[in-house]
Amino acid sequence: MDTVMSAAVIRPYGDTTGDGMVQVSFTLPLAADKRGEGAALQLAGKMGIDPAMVVHARPIGAQHTFFVVYGRVNHLVEPGKVVVAERDYPLLSAKEVNAAIRARLRRKLVVVGACIGTDAHTVGIDAILNVKGIAGEKGLEYYRECRVVNLGAQVAVAALVEHARAEKADAVLVSQVVTQRDAHLTNTREMSAAFREAFPAAKRPLLVVGGPRFDELQTADLGVDRIFGRGTTPREVASYLIHAVGAR
């Protein structure tokens, strides 16, 4: 994680530098009349949009109205203050990862993967783990020095802990795709708590979680070592793993 220093302050761009233009849509539980539009403008105002134009208001049933608002947002964006989960490790090729594992571990790196809870979306974790991979990159199974155990979908946390122990996992990779009612957060916290309880700190496998809707900065909050979001590729994960496992 790091913070960039950059002097500039920027604004959203509609068609002219600095115009600050944005588009917003939402539904309010109000009828589609002038009062409803006024409420939409009020909300836009609270969001910092001024002037705001309600360009579309469409009743959905008698008690809800959908609004589209365009306008100029008066916030300044300070790229210098943006905090991102930067890659703080070198991005290696498969060959380099294999060599690093041989050099640093002198044995195979063991990875246990699963979708936990009731989540059955395996395409994401499979993309990272299976040979097939994604975006032209092969998954971890393809790395000669990795041993991958992919437990599949809807794995209970207790079972995951047991497998991790039995396989002597260096890292546990968990996928969470369903986010409704913050399912992904609840499940991840449950998982990390269970590992912390089951393993002494030094022996605990690396906990890595991924899925399209995670905030990569939330590691501490979720009790995991690393979070990977939308569009992750296997190489990034492999590079991270050898970096982090090697550092232990």
Binding site: I60, F66, G152, A153, Q180
Partner: protein, 517 residues
């Protein structure tokens, strides 16, 4: 319709091969039973309610019977025997006693107990029949949708009390069919939750009470909009037979019900699935319910072009299994989907070829056409455009049931406004271009593609015929998921039927075909 100029002989061959591949699996289904088939039977016989932990009494009862006398003889005999011996007439009370450990079950069932069991099950099936007649009456009263395809919308808040107003709003805005999406995880529960529920994740639990509440609400709305609004749920997962029974009892109108979905996407044991499947379909047949099969799902894990023929093969198998279970053509909402990568040149014309192939192979089935999901991204503007082309493909190829795509597919379960935008989209396309099929005469590109897919399907069916369907599934033929027959969830709830196997529901459902009265 014969726009593709399909070769009738090839089509007949494909059907014959599908039947050959399916027959051994039907034999398997006819020679086994499962805990859920037995529980469904008792549900038809009248058992209701759950223990204080929410475990249904029917589960407690069946578990006790299986513990004492095993599953292979069927559960209805021992249960009605005990009931008669006990002097009680109430299955639920019996279940409570059994759970307390105070009932002993016997393997052999006297004829009187069998008769009592058959009577009870008949009462349940009579209720199913009444529901079916009621549906017919309401359709006559309120009318069917004016247009094809029927417009099918999902609600998925997780809370039945949020679902209901949203479903009603959708129906008012033009939905012909409402599907209440099920909570993640329910398919792996080996019991059906009880009561009205408000805590699902990305879907609402399928319970008898939720069915009842939603059906009643939609009956009100049907009256209001002057159009019978259909209700859909899922007869899928470990409790497929029971949910089918509950759907029949509560007059649901369609059910997602696929011969292989549970195997492939929920890692449910193949034998468990095929046995449950057959029973559930027999109940659907009786209830006049339209099934929706799940071929669309394959295209989320496999590529929609490479695996196009696996969809065709699965449709042919689903058709065979459905007919075998007594479903008629009008009940076969065979699934397929608009899932070709939109970046692929000619993707729309390829979609048309696939969709038209399904249409012409199953001319009397109300095909269920599923929207793009896999290639939807967070770009909701592009998403709404893709959904529009999906709607157009549906209209051009005469699909029967159009599951309306949402621009937020890759983001959230549908918002109220997403449904409204999606419905506007459908309405525009159907009104502006709904008759464009009159001007649509597939040229060589589309025809050739359809012929290729059909050819590949025949080849694959031959291959499946040689190796057996179970082995083919084991090897990852469908959706690239490998599912061996001796693995997967719920296998411990399966038993071979023993010589004296008694199940009054199956006797009736397997019997000479009853006619709708």
């Amino acid at each position: 319709m014969n726009k593709l100029k399909l070769d009738r002989r090839t089509v007949a061959t494909a059907r014959r091969l599908a039947a050959a591949a399916g027959r051994p699996v039907v034999d398997l289904a006819r020679s086994h039973t499962t805990v859920s088939v037995e529980r469904a039977t008792l549900r038809l016989a009248g058992i209701t309610g759950a223990d204080p932990d929410g475990i249904p009494w029917v589960n407690r009862l069946v578990d006790t019977v299986v513990e004492q006398v095993g599953l292979g003889g069927g559960v209805a005999g021992p249960v009605f025997d005990a009931l008669q011996r006990d002097g009680h007439q109430d299955l639920t009370l019996l279940a409570q006693k059994a759970a307390a450990g105070s009932v002993t079950f016997r393997a052999e069932t006297p004829a009187a107990a069998k008769r009592a069991a058959a009577r009870a099950v008949k009462t349940g099936l009579a209720q199913v029949d009444r529901r079916r007649r009621e549906r017919d009456r309401l359709i006559k009263r309120y009318g069917d949708p004016k247009q094809r395809p029927w417009i099918y919308l999902i609600v998925a808040t997780g809370d039945i009390h949020e679902d209901i107003p949203q479903a009603q709003a959708a129906a008012r805005a033009g939905a012909d069919v409402i599907a209440v999406i099920r909570s993640t995880g329910q398919s792996l529960l080996d019991y059906v939750p009880e009561g009205a529920t408000r805590e699902g994740f990305a879907g609402t639990y399928a319970t008898q009470e939720n069915f009842r509440l939603m059906r009643a609400a939609l009956d009100d709305t049907s009256k209001e909009v002057g159009r019978y609004v259909r209700l859909t749920n899922y007869a899928s997962g470990l409790c497929m037979p029971e949910i089918a029974a509950l759907a029949g009892l509560e007059r649901l109108d369609m059910m997602l019900n696929d011969s292989m979905y549970g195997i492939l996407f929920r890692d449910i044991n193949p034998i468990r699935t095929f046995v449950d499947q057959r029973f559930s379909r027999q109940v659907h047949a009786r209830a006049g319910i339209i099934i929706n099969t799940g071929e669309d799902n394959y295209l989320t894990t496999a590529d929609a072009v490479d695996a196009a023929h696996t969809v065709t093969v699965s449709q042919l198998l689903n058709e065979y299994f459905a007919h075998e279970a007594g479903l008629e053509d009008w009940q076969l909402g065979l699934g397929h989907a608009f899932e070709i990568n939109p970046e692929l040149p000619e993707s729309f014309r390829l979609e048309l070829a696939h969709a038209l192939l399904a249409r012409e192979l199953f001319p009397d089935a109300p095909l269920k056409w599923m929207p793009p999901t896999k290639h939807m991204t967070g770009d909701v503007f592009r998403g709404n455009l893709l959904d529009g082309f999906f709607n157009l493909a549906g209209a051009l190829t005469g699909q029967g049931i159009l599951l309306v795509g949402m621009m937020t597919e890759a983001v959230v379960t549908p918002w109220l406004s997403d449904r409204d935008i999606a419905l506007q989209n459908v309405r525009y396309v159907l009104s502006a271009a709904g008759n464009l099929h009159e001007d649509f005469t597939p040229g060589a590109f589309i025809r050739d593609r359809a012929h290729t897919v059909l050819g590949e399907a025949v080849t694959l069916l031959r291959q499946i015929g040689r190796q057996g369907l179970l082995d083919a599934i084991g090897e990852g033929t469908f959706g690239i998921m490998r599912r061996p027959a001796d693995r997967g969830k719920g296998l411990d709830g399966v038993a071979a039927r023993e010589p004296g196997y008694f199940n009054p529901a199956i006797e009736i459902l397997d019997g000479p075909s009853w006619t709708q009265s």
